[in-house]
């Protein structure tokens, strides 16, 4: 009996994996994943050192010029892989440092919770030292004295692997005081969260790190000016930091060339796809790979389904259509189509899926995960869910769709404290644009109370 239980538990246990065999991955073309093993086992320190590990930080420490790291990162134009696409080098160049400035923090945003995203998990579970090396380089560049890996609480395996790898690195002299005899001090702790999507927003993350509710902070000041405990703090995504060692070791020109003539953005990217495809998965591909190429690697749509729409990089990106499959997936191109590259992990929607039901699911997520700090988000998103439920059940009222337009517009960029509500608005606005008819089919009732003109102020 116990044997059958344990085999059941093993058979459906989730394991993070890359769908690219070792033979197809090379140091010069796959900086993020070439070291990963086909058996999915962790690359511990010995193996990491055998595979060019800590070579980049060794060179940088010998060179002794932190500004050179920032310059290379700027030239390489490594754009933030957490979804916003902001140049990491530029962010680093804006971090306050100098004689009268206290040394600050280097924070890794490992709070991967964007629906449809499962890339940082792989990097942390199988190759912890690449992230650690990237963080030491980031700390050197930003004059940070301490680092945190802000890890979501559910990533239990990643926490175990990272903590053991941090111990290894500390024992080998890559963390702690006087790293590798350079005189530079830096150490890292894993901080595990306790749920809530909003913790991925960088200022909310800092509040959470400080032991407070994860409400976002006003910007400016930006974290680089005043972050954790008022000190200059840099927050970078896991994948962004994992790019750093190779960029510094091999240079900006090499990095830029990785994407060939596909796009202006350089480098490689962990792309992936989930939803009803034959082989959902992850691949490291040149930046600017098209949706069609990624879908082909996934074996196409499952069964005889056809593609109706897709999200290019998580729940907070806008819907694209099959006609967009041939666009290079980089930050600017996807932005021009009214969406965002986001995390670069595609979610596909099959033809038979109701867009109203899918939007209801997405907005239920955003409504639940709103921190409640500002009104358009706290009140607007549950209202949106209510309207979408009515439309899904065919009980919508005349005017509901226009109300959805308005609620989404009220959540737009600049109208709320952080990017959560704009993230909730983007899929809704694009769904209403491309599939308005489906929403209209849910309207069966006349205009109701919710649509009456409000009482004019002053006449109460």
């Amino acid at each position: 009996m116990s044997e059958s239980i344990s085999s059941q538990r093993t058979s459906v246990r989730y394991r993070s994996r890359l769908l690219q065999p070792e033979a197809d991955r090379h140091p010069d073309t796959h900086p993020l994943t070439w070291r990963l093993r086909d058996d999915g086992e962790v690359i511990w320190l010995d193996e990491y050192l055998r595979k060019e590990g800590y070579q980049s930080i060794r060179n940088a420490l010998d060179n002794g010029d932190p500004q050179a790291i920032i310059a290379t990162m700027k030239d390489a134009n490594v754009r933030g892989r957490g979804g916003a696409g902001f140049s990491a080098g530029l962010k680093w160049s804006l971090t306050l440092q100098g004689g009268d400035m206290p040394r600050g923090y280097l924070i890794c945003n490992a709070d991967e919770m964007e629906p449809g995203t499962f890339k940082d998990r792989l990097l942390m579970e199988q190759q912890p030292h690449l992230l650690i090396e990237g963080m030491i380089l980031g700390a050197l560049a930003n004059n940070s004295f301490y680092g945190y890996i802000f890890l979501r609480g559910e990533y239990v395996e990643a926490a175990r692997v990272l903590n053991r790898a941090l111990d290894e690195a500390r024992e080998a002299g890559w963390l702690g005081a006087n790293i590798n005899g350079s005189g530079f001090d830096f150490d890292i702790a894993v901080h595990t969260g306790a749920g809530r999507y909003i913790c991925g927003e960088e200022t909310a993350l800092i509040n959470s790190l400080e032991g407070k509710r994860a409400n976002p902070r006003a910007k400016p000041p930006f974290p680089g000016q005043s972050g954790a405990w008022g000190k200059p703090s840099v927050v970078n995504n896991v994948e962004t930091l994992c790019n750093v060692p190779a960029v510094i070791l091999k240079g900006a020109d090499w990095y830029q060339a990785l994407s060939g003539d596909r796009t202006e953005d350089g480098g490689s990217k962990l792309y992936g796809v989930s939803g009803p495809v034959e082989k959902p998965g992850l691949w490291e591909l040149p930046m600017g790979t098209t949706g069609a190429e990624i879908l082909e690697r996934a074996g196409g749509m499952r069964g005889n389904r056809s593609l109706k729409a897709w999200l290019p990089g998580g729940a907070s990106t806008g819907f694209l259509l099959p006609e967009h499959l041939d666009l290079p997936l980089d930050f600017d191109t996807v932005g021009k189509e009214g969406s965002r590259l986001g995390t670069g992990l595609l979610t596909v929607v099959p033809q038979e899926q109701s867009m109203v039901a899918l939007m209801r699911n997405l907005e239920e997520f955003f409504a639940r995960e709103s921190c409640g700090w500002c009104t358009p988000c706290r009140d607007g998103l549950p209202w949106t869910v209510k309207l979408l439920w009515a439309l899904e059940l065919g009980q919508g009222e005349t005017g509901d769709i226009e109300l959805l337009d308005k609620l989404a517009a009220d959540c737009g960029p600049g109208l709320t404290f952080c990017a959560h509500a704009p993230g909730a608005a983007m899929p809704l606005q694009t769904a209403l644009k491309h599939f308005r008819q489906e929403f209209e089919q849910g309207v069966s009732k006349p205009r109701g109370k919710a649509h009456q003109d409000p009482i004019p102020v002053g006449e109460i």
């Binding site: 059958s4 239980i5 344990s6 059941q8 538990r9 459906v12 246990r13 989730y14 394991r15 993070s16 994996r17 991967e112 919770m113 629906p115 449809g116 995203t117 499962f118 940082d120 998990r121 979501r152 609480g153 559910e154 990533y155 239990v156 395996e157 901080h191 595990t192 969260g193 306790a194 749920g195 809530r196 999507y197 790190l209 400080e210 032991g211 407070k212 509710r213 994860a214 954790a228 405990w229 992936g272 989930s274 939803g275 009803p276 959902p280 992850l282 999200l311 729940a315 992990l345 979610t347 596909v348 929607v349 899918l358 699911n361 997405l362 239920e364 997520f365 639940r368 995960e369 921190c371």
Partner: protein
């Protein structure tokens, strides 16, 4: 708890970890723990309660011996979440936020588990499973007495 405090500039930062330490011991965070944590960290009980009630993985009421977190985000939604959730609820005889009568399982929804290539996914305590079909459930749950 004091060891955790050492990782941060201010003791308050250990608040979430302190709540988790209590939770590991008791399964949830009882009222008495709020004041006790506040005392250790040198902050007001309202700050601790504010944090305890904000985060979804801190439980301010008793839960079962095992907590089942079902991912209801988009990729799982597109890959059979509804069927899985229904099967789970009917197998256990409870809905979200409820605990089975024998105190064994509590069922809760969770943010995208980052296991989308294994959708639909769920977690039982510290273990992540996916893809999980309704047929897998009886065998899977049996592993958590």
């Amino acid at each position: 708890m004091l060891e955790e405090v050492g990782h941060y500039e201010q003791p308050q930062a250990a608040c979430i970890e302190a709540l988790k330490i209590v939770q590991r011991r008791y399964g949830w965070v009882p009222d008495g723990a709020i004041g006790a944590i506040a005392k250790v960290l040198g902050i007001g009980p309202a700050s601790v309660e504010g944090v305890a009630t904000f985060y979804s993985l801190i439980f301010r009421q008793p839960v079962g011996r095992h907590v089942v977190l079902v991912c209801d985000s988009s990729s799982c939604f597109l890959s059979g979440f509804d069927e899985l959730k229904q099967a789970l609820a009917s197998h256990l005889g409870i809905d979200y936020g409820q605990t089975t009568e024998d105190g064994r399982f509590t069922l809760l929804p969770v943010c995208c588990l980052g296991a989308c290539d294994g959708a639909p996914a769920l977690m039982i305590d510290d273990d992540t499973y996916g893809p999980v079909s309704p047929d897998d459930l009886p065998g899977l749950l049996e592993g958590y007495p």
